[in-house]
Symmetry: C2
Subunit: 510 residues, 2 copies
């Protein structure tokens, strides 16, 4: 397809899919400036799409380092081009964080969280297009999609927000708000060094009113799934080894010796069985569940969700046959979002060839446990509680390694900045589904929501994206039905910026 | 070294190491025939060694099939050359079994068990010589060694027995006993098809007086470690899978779904914890330990062993630091040889990269259990007991696969055929250590010891061998101290044949 024709068709599609209402509203309010910005967005789709593709075509795989330096520099130039007053590559022990400050001298300040890294191409043979070419592919029932690694997660929403800023700047000369960008290159490595940049610019960040994480939030049905936080995660490695026990062969041996030494795999099984029962659902570690609270506000949101949301979609998300028997829809949502876990991600010891046969006494066995934390589990208590539990039950020799630990974070839907965001959605005809917490964990949010910054955290954006971390990751750029097309996605960000500018300041900001 | 010089030197070394006593005895008894045979053995060492090497240079790896056909044919030709009256390759669903019958019309019949297969070369880089060249290497403190895969396990002792027969035949014209050879090519695959040949020749085998398994039985100190049987083994694979449960993602998923489905790895851990405790040493499966008996005769042998055998050598065998605390030497031997096990050979589920971090809900988890059986555990009861235990504890969904199951076997040291063997050892100045049972399992013995054959089973041979299944597998062919050299090994077999011929018949043989 010829590019100009494409832009025309997306503009038309967007108009057909709800933008008309917005145009009417903006026109009705006499807001000529906003109309000029919308027109700029529409007339610059060619350039905006080109900028998305430039960003997508730059690999930036944090786990291998491929393209990281170049991509960080590209993000830096994005900000320079937008006349940010301060742009810096903050060096860390890992990949750099791009810091950008646009100081308009405005009353309100939006902190934008971003990530420029992506996960690797795990199974290249399953991609229908090359993962770093950013081709456009038809997705019947959804629309036209841009397919590339990093599209939805999260290069397109981030660049779409910058495109919106660019249109505002082109028409208006400056943004109506101050902006601070913190764009990390290690989100896929559990955001292990973002704290360096947050700490470095703490005093400025404290002046923010909210933190925005640009995301495509429409599900396949077009509903906005707006989450208000994310679970924490503490990742443990528990190991029982003959070396640590001081008994038996540290490298393993023939199993004929097992009765002389005991078996570290059995010992680990026994220790684990004291910690959890009921298929892993009942956590028996002393003190662990005592921290758990089902907050009335969260339950209120779940009850509200149930009117419009059928949790049975989670079965297809997980590619699962059935839930545990006897769960009500409400139970399912509570378990999905608000229930602590102490999950075996993996367990291994000895000879593990599935179809093989070898008689071994393992030298050690280990288990990898992920603890997803929800209100009001204090992630810093997990290791001490597990240690005390193991010691109390006689397993002093079982070692604990911590591979990472960060807290859950959440913002109340009553927060005025969240209400502003919800209102912007309503202006686009969307009543968001409010999820109290993402079921998956978020390793960076707490840097912004916890003291000293204490910012409300907003995921935000129109549009539909899918296949994160999987082959053929995509965003829809020309949506069918009520799925937003790229121009509408950008206009939404324009409006969010204006609505945010007009909304209340954060109390207590310094 | 020039070959002739080598033979001379081995003959001298053998004479120095104890053969002189034997010569004196044979000469003293006026047994000129035996002296002629010894001389034949000595004067044909060049040829005998060449035959060992021919056999060792023929690879015969049962797990891959490499060289199996050629090696089976070589063993067949060995028997043809020895004028066996009946030689046959018994075809099985796997590798053929070589059957040979030498019918001397004698009063006594010796069944010889053999195996012509070997395990693969797992780590070729650790071999100091090519594993199928059969080179001679100095082993300080032990002597000169023939190093090759399959030396000790078991090509050299088998061929040395045939060499002994050849010398008897050359001097005497015929053997003083009847011989039936059953030489399988799948011992390293748990002897899965030897039963085909045993069944085919059952009526002849029932006329046997004993079954001999030629082995190099001297340990590094020169002591004869004569075991009177071997443990059985039942190898189980227990699996808990979402597919079988009908709940959750059969292929696994992100762990954010864990509370909706439960976790098959946790479920497996919980099931296992009901079966065993105390580091795997206390088996709680209902009915399992009720079958166990410590037989007075076995305890008698252990008490006798303790006068001459320090079980702390097992620490170095296992490359282990310490035994479980508080075990007496007697406890150690009882646990090593006479205690049932229900051992985790391996356990695996989910994400098992030791140093990695991934949050997964496993789709399944499995454990591989080896049950070493001792008197009087009936291996056929194990699966029904485990199934009943799992069902009783609510784990009907945990599946059991049986990868193999065979019983223990043993012969009383009071058996007259065993006493004949012991006397032959005494004639060579050795008082064997009698182990009631090999700690490792033996997958073929029961075919001979159980009805309908009911043969006494004799491991037998002089000489020292080591590194079975490991790099640089060897036998000593020119021993230092009291380690037998090849001529003495062969003469021992000559004497064993004569002593067996002169000994009592098996009562009840048909």
């Amino acid at each position: 397809m010829n590019r100009r024709k494409f832009i025309q068709s997306t503009t038309l599609a967007a108009a057909a899919a709800g933008t008309s209402r917005l145009w009417a509203q903006a026109a009705g309010s006499g807001d000529r400036e906003r109309q000029d910005i919308y027109r700029h967005v529409d007339s610059h789709q060619d350039d905006h799409l080109s900028k998305l593709r430039q960003y997508l075509r730059q690999p930036s795989i944090s786990s291998t380092g491929e393209g990281i330096t170049e991509c960080a520099d590209m993000v830096r130039r994005f900000m320079v081009d937008l006349k940010f007053t301060e742009v810096e590559l903050v060096q860390t022990p890992g990949h750099p964080v791009v810091w950008g400050h646009y100081d308009a001298g405005a009353r309100k300040t939006l902190v934008v969280y971003g990530m420029y890294d992506v996960v690797p191409i795990f199974r290249p043979e399953l991609w229908e297009v090359p993962p770093f070419e950013a081709r456009i592919v038809d997705k019947p029932g959804l629309g036209k999609a841009l397919v590339a690694r990093g599209t939805g997660n999260t290069k397109v929403p981030f660049r779409a927000l910058l495109n919106a800023m660019e249109s505002i700047l082109s028409v208006r000369g400056e943004l109506p708000i101050n902006v601070m960008c913190v764009v990390e290159g290690e989100e896929e490595l559990a955001s292990r060094n973002i704290g360096v940049a947050v700490e470095k610019h703490r005093d400025k960040l404290k002046t923010g009113d909210a933190c925005l994480d640009p995301k495509y939030l429409q599900n396949e049905q077009g509903l906005i799934e707006l989450t208000l936080g994310a679970k924490g995660n503490t990742y443990l490695h528990l190991e029982c080894s003959n070396e640590r026990r001081g008994i038996g062969p540290s490298g393993g041996s023939s199993s004929r010796f097992s009765a002389l030494f005991g078996n570290p795999a059995w010992r680990l099984v026994e220790a684990l069985s004291t910690m959890v029962d009921n298929d892993g659902l009942n956590i028996k570690i002393e003190g662990y569940m005592d921290m758990h609270r089902l907050l009335p506000e969260d339950l209120e949101l779940i009850d509200a969700m149930l009117e419009r949301y059928d949790p049975s979609v989670l079965l297809s998300d997980a590619k699962a046959s059935n839930f545990l028997p006897g769960l009500s829809k409400r139970d399912i949502l509570i378990r999905y979002m608000l229930t602590p876990s102490f999950n075996i991600s993996g367990i291994r010891g000895g000879f593990v060839d599935e179809d093989g046969r070898a008689t071994r006494l393992p030298g050690k066995a280990f288990v990898k446990i992920d603890c997803r934390t929800v209100p009001e589990l204090d992630h810093r208590q997990i290791v001490p509680l597990v240690r005390a539990h193991l010691d109390k039950h006689g397993f002093q020799d079982i070692g604990i390694r911590v591979f990472g630990s960060y807290p859950y974070f959440k913002t109340s839907y009553r927060n005025p900045q969240v209400q502003t965001l919800i209102q912007t959605y309503r202006n686009y005809g969307h009543e968001p589904l409010l999820f109290p917490l993402r079921a998956s964990s978020g390793p960076y949010g707490y840097h912004f929501t916890d003291p000293p910054l204490s910012l409300p955290f907003l995921y935000g954006g129109l549009g539909h994206a899918g296949h994160f971390h999987a082959p053929n990751e995509y965003v829809i750029i020309e949506g069918e039905g009520n799925l937003a097309s790229l121009p509408e996605v950008e206009k939404f960000y324009v409006d969010l910026i204006y609505d945010f500018a007009a909304g209340p300041e954060r109390p207590g900001k310094s």
